[in-house]
């Protein structure tokens, strides 16, 4: 029993630590979203998933990160392999707030031709955290 508990602890810690940073990022984004819109009610997994799948021009997030972001993808231009985006499949993801902002900045410009709003980013993270391999 003790062994089982230890195993469970060992397996769950990386995931917990990982979503911890994502949740901190979301808290900051929630404050920004509230400041931009007083009627803001919190982030939505459904909105995040729709945002992830919708084509906003030529591309969607799924163009490179695939329909199922727990899978590895390919860069639409260079074809370089991209590691899975969902933290459940790749615990490195969403562990560095600076890196997260860098890629939101780049990829939102690529896909939407504009920066993403705090609500869009928060919804996106809400969705990504629910994706299971």
């Amino acid at each position: 029993m003790k062994f089982l508990l230890m195993l469970l602890w060992a397996l769950s810690t990386p995931i917990l630590a990982n979503t911890g940073v994502a949740v901190q990022i979301q808290a900051r984004l929630a404050a920004e979203a509230r400041a931009a819109d007083a009627t803001f009610q919190g982030f939505s997994v459904q909105r995040g998933e729709a945002f992830y799948r919708d084509r906003h021009g030529d591309w969607s997030c799924a163009t490179c990160h695939t329909d199922h972001p727990a899978k590895g993808g390919r860069h639409a231009v260079t074809q370089k392999a991209i590691l899975p985006l969902a933290p459940s499949a790749n615990p490195e993801r969403f562990t560095d707030p600076k890196k997260v902002e860098k890629w939101f900045k780049r990829n939102c410009n690529d896909v939407l031709n504009r920066p993403c709003t705090a609500r869009e980013k928060g919804d996106f993270i809400a969705y990504i955290l629910t994706v299971r391999p």
């Binding site: 860069h75 231009v77 260079t78 074809q79 370089k80 900045k105 780049r106 990829n107 410009n109 690529d110």
Partner: protein, 151 residues
Amino acid sequence: MKRVWMVGVVWVFALSVWAGEHRYGPYPKLYGQECASCHVVYPPELMTAAGWRQVMQQLGKHYGSDASLDAGPQAEISAFLERQASRRAKHAPTEASARLSRSNWFVHEHGQTPPPKVSFAHCEACHTGAEQMDYSERGLRLPAGYRQRGD
């Protein structure tokens, strides 16, 4: 004995040059971190300083993608690229966007058109050692029917 060694070293060196031993790096960690997410690390030695300057000034519109950097890494990587850059004319950019794949050297080695469904940015598609910065002929796997040089 010393002489035998020397001859041996020179011979091995000559052989590796003859065999097309094209290995590069290692490079600073920051360069790989910031410039090898969307494509493999490109050897700075394959473009002139003027070319790298042009590339680094247009990172916000980097061949159809936003590859912008914070000011710190931007300056550090620019300095590194210019320090390591080629001084040979064949590595000079031939257009304002300074695409490495349009330099005289690149076109001489690869022609103007990549194989079907392959991007010239995807070095590792044919250079199987590209992720380890090994571009030797030994690791080259060309698609059937693709002519390597001269269109």
